[in-house]
Amino acid sequence: MITPFQIACRNLLRKKVRTFLTLIGIMLSTWVMVSLFGFNKGYEKALNRDIENMGYQLMVMAKGCPYEAATMMLQGGKGLRYMEQSMVNDIVKEPEVEKVTPILMQAYFDPNKGESGGIAGYFGVDPASYPAMKPFFRFRSGGWFHDEAAQEVVMGYEAAELEQREVGDMTMVPEKNVQLKVVGILERTGTQDDGTIFVPLKSLQRIAGTAKITTVGIKVKKDADMSKLETKLYQLKDVQVVSFSQVKQTILKLIATARVMVLSIAIVAILIAMVGVVNTVLMSVLERVQEIGILKTMGAMPGDIFRLVWTETLILCSVGGIAGIGFALLFAQVTDILVRRILPYAPGGGLVAIDLPLALLTLVTIVGVGLLSGLYPAWKAGRVRPLESIRREG
């Protein structure tokens, strides 16, 4: 026996092109919507992951020193300020501090990088304390430095890919003409560490001709009062304290405008799709007035006709919504690339996180809005009187 659901499906298949175009509209708006929600979720997750992967929650550096690798690259290392390494001893005394690690950042111009040269960033790290801050580092090959003043480097995954280095290769520090041996290449972490070249702190200090450092990374004890520690650290002379939770808030504020813009686009896309749904279903009802009248002579109640037309809306929105979610999952990488182009700062790893609850929420939203749009055509169909529809023909 044929069911009202099958009748609804056949009705939609009558005007295949119209139905297809409506589905495309719903699919596109779902795609935009789920990608946007996925981005909202994924960006914050990626940012948290980036910050957690720093291994430390606070950084202390000389006042005026750029703390972010990208900024350092832009300024070509010229903005670097230094502080005494003895600062580490003052910081580690604080009861809230669990671990500290001194870091020296250096940036040199490499004429062989890219078409017209580029900046190569080096991280001088303490082999005794830095690896403990990054216990999640896995080596694709090799391992950490053999001693604290070795002429060696450990390369991030992308840095090694870019320079096509393998363990055992020699690499030259530009401007300084110092050769270092590659002893380790890290697995991909999805963070900025992938593009970093790590050198033992003492070696980099020797190459740079300084005994100072640029940064102290601080891991705070669990449940310690972070703001109290920050206040105490500000008492140290000529330093600035960067808390990653502050950095996170700043970055989230920066991308808020982009989020609002994309949300507006998503809302407009949904509205356009829903106008398409109303148009398709209403046209379909108007074209079938006689047929609806005949269904009523056969015993279909106004509620049956209402449900039949509403089922058509439900099918359109469900199929379009599922297709949109499918495409969003399939092309999440493309969305990722596009979003990265317009963002002021993009953390590593996937920026668009679409999971089952999000997919279901989007589907329910699309179907819910669709069913609201289908109310008028369904109501109109339910009110068709058989006699009037038969008279039309006569």
Partner: protein, 230 residues
């Protein structure tokens, strides 16, 4: 069904339309009774009110005045008129309809068209009627065809099967052969006559075709909204 076998009783049925300031009495005080198993043909010139009367008898329209009882139930009377929901309820329990234009759904097969009423309302055992009726009407070889693949006469047979699938008390046929050639018209006429004779189905038919009307055991001539037995 009443004890006397009366399936329809109409008393002083009236339908008045207003066009501007003019009142048109399309049905003017018609009283008649129809017994179970009768084949009643309504004839008359265009505008005589036959279709309007049959629409009221078939609960497709409300009268302006008068009373109508169907199968012992009062449907209209005492100024009462039914809403669309109540009219549908009466229609699906008592009537099957066939029309001049067949009104088959072109995206459904013959079998699905016949089964269509069951998607909304089904009397017990109605499912078995689909194939039985299509066989009875000689359409078993066309069950999986679409309406576009069969002839006009076959389409009307499918429409008859669809009208009968819920085992109605009364079959209401409005110009059932209006779109068919002479040979197909005769075929449909024979089918209606057989359904009336063999299955005891009550048939109310509107037709311009005198040959078809002659098949009815009883003919009613409509003139100016009034009914005359002939």
């Amino acid at each position: 069904m009443t004890e006397s076998g009366m399936v329809l009783a109409a008393r002083e049925l009236t339908k008045v339309y207003t066009r501007g300031s003019e009142a048109i009495r399309a049905v003017d005080g018609v009283s008649l009774t129809i017994r179970r198993g009768e084949f009643v043909a309504f004839m008359g010139p265009s505008g005589s009110g036959k279709t309007t009367l049959v629409n009221i008898l078939g609960c497709l329209d409300n009268p302006t005045g008068g009373e109508l009882d169907l199968a012992g139930r009062s449907i209209f009377g005492g100024g009462k008129s039914l809403g669309e929901r109540d009219l549908t309820r009466v229609r699906r329990e008592l009537f099957g309809y066939i029309f001049q234009n067949f009104y088959l759904i072109h995206t459904l097969t013959v079998r699905e068209n016949v089964a269509l009423p069951l998607a909304f309302y089904r009397k017990p055992g109605a499912e078995e009627e689909v194939e039985r009726l299509l066989k009875l009407l000689g359409m078993e070889h066309r069950m999986d065809h679409l309406p576009g693949q069969i002839s006009g006469g076959e389409m009307q047979r499918v429409a008859i099967a669809r009208a009968l699938v819920n085992r109605p008390e009364i079959l209401l046929a409005d110009e059932p052969t209006g779109n068919l050639d002479t040979r197909r018209s005769e075929e449909i006429g024979e089918i209606l006559q057989e359904l009336n004779r063999n299955a005891g189905l009550t048939i109310i038919m509107v037709s311009h075709n005198p040959d078809l009307a002659r098949l009815g055991g009883r003919r009613i001539e409509m003139r100016d909204g009034q009914a005359y037995e002939s």
